[in-house]
Symmetry: none
Subunit: 195 residues, 2 copies
């Protein structure tokens, strides 16, 4: 078996069994324990498993998120839960973008791999499905994340009411993606807090 294949299988085995001994992995794959330790090293650094004495344990996503606050998958910036845009991919991995701006761009980039996309209603913070959300751009409220700014709303009616007060335009998911890409190509290539 190729090393890479072994590593993949080890990963899925841990994910499935939750806890497993190094010795058992060594037996199962017919390699020395030292090799198993070496195979586990990248997984450990990635943060999806934890070593215990004598074995490994799968780290739940919740824990992972707690211990490791990674940056936005698109711009690398830190993010808050409030504006975050999450992409659940076909390989069961999750990517987090700092805001809908980066989320929509990333979504456009890797569209085929995305199984689910979720974001948060700007007013109520309810979790919503991105493709069903409404997106507001060019508004006068600035959250200081990325530019051009994109705010997300659960209901079209509320997005429109928001625009009535604070200006801007309301877009559906597909249109928002197109418009955003156009805006980004229209000379404003920088992401963060640019006017």
């Amino acid at each position: 078996m190729l090393p890479l294949e072994r590593k993949k299988r080890i990963r899925s085995l841990i994910e499935k069994e939750r806890h497993i001994k190094i010795a058992e992995l060594s037996n199962r794959f017919g390699v020395s324990e030292m090799t198993i330790h070496r195979d586990l090293k990248p997984l450990l650094e990635e943060g999806c498993i934890a070593k215990t004495f004598g074995g490994v344990a799968w780290k739940q996503d919740g824990q992972e998120a707690n211990t490791k606050v990674q940056g936005c998958v698109y711009c690398g910036r830190g993010y808050s839960e409030r504006l975050a845009y999450r992409l659940i991919l076909s390989n069961n991995r999750m990517e987090t973008a700092c805001c809908a701006h980066c989320g929509l761009l990333r979504h456009s980039q890797i569209g085929g791999e995305v199984m689910q996309a979720i974001c948060s209603d700007f007013l109520t913070h309810t979790t919503i499905s991105a493709p069903l959300s409404w997106f507001v751009m060019d508004t006068s409220v600035h959250m200081g994340c990325c530019h051009p700014q994109v705010l997300t709303f659960e209901w079209k009616e509320y997005a429109e009411k928001f625009v009535k007060g604070f200006g801007g335009h309301v877009y559906s998911f597909e249109v928002a993606k197109t418009v955003l890409v156009q805006k980004m190509n229209g000379g404003q290539n920088n992401c963060h807090s640019q006017k």
Copy 2:
């Protein structure tokens, strides 16, 4: 079984059974009592269990005390950081209200003792001084906290823009307190999610 896995199981076992003998745990997991004692040590320090002579007992309140999110000082309900209204008193104690509704009422109640009052801008979540904030009531957006609902804004301009879209009225701090008390006395005495 891996040590970590055993520790987890011991924890959930105690939580489930409420109290259990050390000897039984020793039997159940096939390790010496000394090992069980060692496994219990971190749980003990964490405060979620209590040792009795010969056994352990689950401490309900102990754990709650550690992780405890206290309720609103006025209505007792749990609160989110987003809507919370905090009162710093002259004796250096801090009180937290679940939202501006309860915060303003509490503020009116113990006015003299309050040194500082802080809340959060509804749009940006910036922390702001309550007496300098602008308060929106009777709007069509409902956050599901207390009724009559009060939203807080850093800038009057933004509060007005919000009202333009979502309806309602903008009040300064002093006026908001008065209006709220009037509304509460006008027959709508209940606090939570009442229409």
